[in-house]
Symmetry: D2
Subunit: 352 residues, 4 copies
Amino acid sequence: MIKVGIIGSTGYAGAELVRLLLQHPQAEIVWYGSKSYVDQNYADIYRNMFELVDEKCMNDDMEELARRADVIFTATPQGLCASMVGEGILEQAKVIDLSADFRLKDVKVYEKWYHRTHEAPQYIPEAVYGLCEINRSQIPSARIVANPGCYTTASILALYPLVADCLIDPDTIIIDAKSGTSGAGRGTKLGNLYCEVNESIKPYGVATHRHTPEIEEQLSYAAGMDYKPAEGIRLNFTPHLVPMNRGILATCYATLKSGVDASRIQDAYEQYYQEEYFIRLLGKDCFPETRWVEGSNFVDIGFTVDERTGRVIAASAIDNLVKGAAGQAVQNMNLLFGLDEKTGLQLVPVFP
Amino acid sequence: MIKVGIIGSTGYAGAELVRLLLQHPQAEIVWYGSKSYVDQNYADIYRNMFELVDEKCMNDDMEELARRADVIFTATPQGLCASMVGEGILEQAKVIDLSADFRLKDVKVYEKWYHRTHEAPQYIPEAVYGLCEINRSQIPSARIVANPGCYTTASILALYPLVADCLIDPDTIIIDAKSGTSGAGRGTKLGNLYCEVNESIKPYGVATHRHTPEIEEQLSYAAGMDYKPAEGIRLNFTPHLVPMNRGILATCYATLKSGVDASRIQDAYEQYYQEEYFIRLLGKDCFPETRWVEGSNFVDIGFTVDERTGRVIAASAIDNLVKGAAGQAVQNMNLLFGLDEKTGLQLVPVFP
Amino acid sequence: MIKVGIIGSTGYAGAELVRLLLQHPQAEIVWYGSKSYVDQNYADIYRNMFELVDEKCMNDDMEELARRADVIFTATPQGLCASMVGEGILEQAKVIDLSADFRLKDVKVYEKWYHRTHEAPQYIPEAVYGLCEINRSQIPSARIVANPGCYTTASILALYPLVADCLIDPDTIIIDAKSGTSGAGRGTKLGNLYCEVNESIKPYGVATHRHTPEIEEQLSYAAGMDYKPAEGIRLNFTPHLVPMNRGILATCYATLKSGVDASRIQDAYEQYYQEEYFIRLLGKDCFPETRWVEGSNFVDIGFTVDERTGRVIAASAIDNLVKGAAGQAVQNMNLLFGLDEKTGLQLVPVFP
Amino acid sequence: MIKVGIIGSTGYAGAELVRLLLQHPQAEIVWYGSKSYVDQNYADIYRNMFELVDEKCMNDDMEELARRADVIFTATPQGLCASMVGEGILEQAKVIDLSADFRLKDVKVYEKWYHRTHEAPQYIPEAVYGLCEINRSQIPSARIVANPGCYTTASILALYPLVADCLIDPDTIIIDAKSGTSGAGRGTKLGNLYCEVNESIKPYGVATHRHTPEIEEQLSYAAGMDYKPAEGIRLNFTPHLVPMNRGILATCYATLKSGVDASRIQDAYEQYYQEEYFIRLLGKDCFPETRWVEGSNFVDIGFTVDERTGRVIAASAIDNLVKGAAGQAVQNMNLLFGLDEKTGLQLVPVFP
């Protein structure tokens, strides 16, 4: 059994890790970290775990945790993982960081978009960006896996084959994304209240959302480019808050390169994703809906070509807490420990 | 592997059966029955099953189905199961009926509340009311299991120990129940439209809902009474429609017998349910919420005693599609085939 | 024009007062009080008021406010109004208190249920309980109007004729109520977060909710009883939180007195309410739904008689922010200033 | 009093017309047309109108209606208005058509996108496109006003100043729009069921939605172009279905012309809209949310400039049933009859 510790187990992503790991045949949670709730029963914080989890919440002592666990998930705000990680820890346990601390390779980009100083830049080079479908081969040997963001997972996977195969003009990419409210976390902020979210939709972080450089960087690599101040893809990414608990839909637009048609697009998707269990290609003119992936680790992708405008419109749907956070983290854990990548993740989407 | 056939697999309860059985280690679905969608791909009707179910929908030929399957689930409107069942079928397969056809022992009560003639009353006596926590011993040898209704499961389980131990006056029972909209089925009726349900709550079927006699009958048995025109418990049951997909909450009121206090109530719940995996006793002054059981087979029960009025208020929460329909049906299947009752049902509730 | 000041104008009830008063032909808001947002633009707190309200938020200086306004609405937490009111204020302005400070006539009952010392008990005797349909004649001459609670408005109006005409046994009353989430206020509490409320229903404050004595007291008066420790009606009131913004539904149960039938019940409702513009009697077997009153000051009431159990089930629906708070407060203001009671309140319910 | 007839008064847009006209000081509804519900009480179909509307539903006899009414609103499916309109009618009454029959000037475009033959193309030339803020001067003298679509109103108003002032490259326009479910109408289709819409978001009609040519045509005129097969603007418009009752958000993207900055954009919005009561300019970096306009006729518009990509992102929010349908229709009626355009429309947005 893999011994697992979770720092930040009482956020929504942390709680989803608990849900998935409780149903994982080869993992055992040994540390329910939660600074805010130390010594409280985990099941009092998440009553769905009543009689399923008996443990109390633990503090953030990552050193001690590393002694007890084989792998540490950090489902915490930006900066926490970077502030705690070190050789003592990495010699004893793998780290899967669900925050953004190790996702961006250029520390200046991180510091600019996140408005904070990075406290452990020395680990950025070795950290592997844990988007399994793209970086699978690098993950098993990593010490630190940077688990991708929710919006970024949906966005990158929708566009990767198109960029990698040079089917679209990368300067024309626009991603209009929509997320359920669990993506905003469990913080008690006015904007997260039921009556403020319900019966409304709004854009936020327009042209400034921090998942933008993460998408740009990975797509730049896909295009064979570096991602630097004067190099790499620049795109528009606009997130919207939707009155629902879970789900992300990324609607992506780009101008096709000359001569590219729908069947060429379809070929590219199949070439890259046909063997991927968690990616379901809906095909031309069939679009994803978040309800069809809820509770599962699937990524549903569909597209169409608009010949009038010469653009492709591709869309992907994920459950932001599963493939967009905890599920992908478990997928990474499976790769790190040599298990079948699907172990514990073959969950049938819950509908309705 | 148990070979399973489902008649009515494209209703919400049928689709939930599919979800649960796909994740069941010892069952295999061999027949996706759906009169409305014969020959269509099941995954085109329920896109969450894309790449998980390859089969096409089949007709209602229960005779043929009985030859192929070990057990038949009928997740169909009232009357269908009764109209098709017969010796030829029962000799070959077990039948778990999710409709009300075999739940009421007195055919006249059935015909009065359901406004239809019963087409197979000869099978009523042998059918077992499949509320596992109450009737466990009778289920394994049954040929027909009458799977309880969603409201009735929540209501009976909340009140059973109180009635069985004579702690309340059975003439004072009032059940005010609330259900998510999946309980209304997938029929395209005006009242089921999004804009008609959203941002509203309404009572319906007040004093006439057909789950009333089912609750009364089972609680009468618990009280050691028959359930006949002039005998047995009479109570008020009022269902309400709530703007959410899943979940039933039953808030139950009754006047305590003289001398009964909260600890006596607690004792009764523990005596009957302590060993029940799927019943979680929250205890005094802690009340259930439907979100904590969503997607799972759990029944959460809490209560309080109001000394000012001499009443107990007990409440239970279930997922109407799981413990209220498909999950309970699988639990019955497990009992019928000698499996551990929990097989395939140890699902962690999904939250948020 | 009536000059109006609002203390607590940035809570949901306060903001609804603003909405209603902006559309009131004879009122003008001169003071947007909001301790938390002093000096901020009101329209920055409630963006729906953009270009409709130019004022900034003011402090809680009730003395100064009394000099400027003809009437003061206090839409504030319990205790605030009682702590500020005094002769200096009451000589200059009428006070309509939306909190519970002056609703209960027995200060000990207030202090017991609200767990606080009342700071101005000397004004309790003269305060008028502002349920216009019941106490209309006393309101015009009042200095302090105690605006009823949201649950209490719905509950009392559903039961008043039945109690007043002795049609039911008052010891058997059970009120199972359901409310939209705006009733919980705009406080940033975990329980008010979107993901905590959405897709769930829960009871709360079972047997302890503070609207209980308010309902009991008014129904006791209706029955010709006092409301004291050993006298008056005792009933069960159970509120539930529903995933919707607005609306309260109160489902009420009581045992009929011998010989009372449905037509007698209907007669009682008509006798008391036939002339009431804001009460809409749906009649026998037709039940209210909160969507039909949303945004309006209407109270919809329906009922049925269950001859099997000898009970009446009556239900009422209101918009908790209108008839349950701000609308009723404006109705009281109209009465205080000699206007037609309906002035500014003839709003057509918004659906869907 | 203006005598008003409504054909299609029992759809959501028709019912919203009723709500608005009941509160309009100079209009009186004389004909509640509804083919499906002829002779039924209107208030039985829309219970919110109980005691507010006593009339029964009438048939579609537009000839008779024209004799009784000064203005006829057709809130009906495509084709109905064109099939019924004629000189006999237009000589007696103004027609405000909420369907698409007279919105597109090129009948071939209509027939291509709507897959139907136009039955009254002779009236297309004289029909005025009733987007008041753009075409105000032409409306008063019209016999037929083509009331704009919901998506188109939001989209055109967000982009009009940018296109008219040549601030953006019209070939780069992408509109990603999101709508509440009332936009899908009251038809009993599977896709409109509560459980199918709730907890999900989906794109639909991608690259094929019929509001596309309407937006293109009007923006082409703004740009000084004709709109013909080989001329005019071509853009991408992608609608999405959001789990909420009301509201449309249109998020618009376009590449800025060289040298255009945010202040130039702001100037253009102010130049065109500063005097418009129903358009509220939120300004740079402040984005609209549908909740702030719910129930009102307002259009909220905000924008930002992304210097990294050289694009403007502008967004607008409306209530699809008010400014997107019934409110705009009443605005047109006011213009047709020489009333202040705001008459009956100064509704404060309802929140929450």
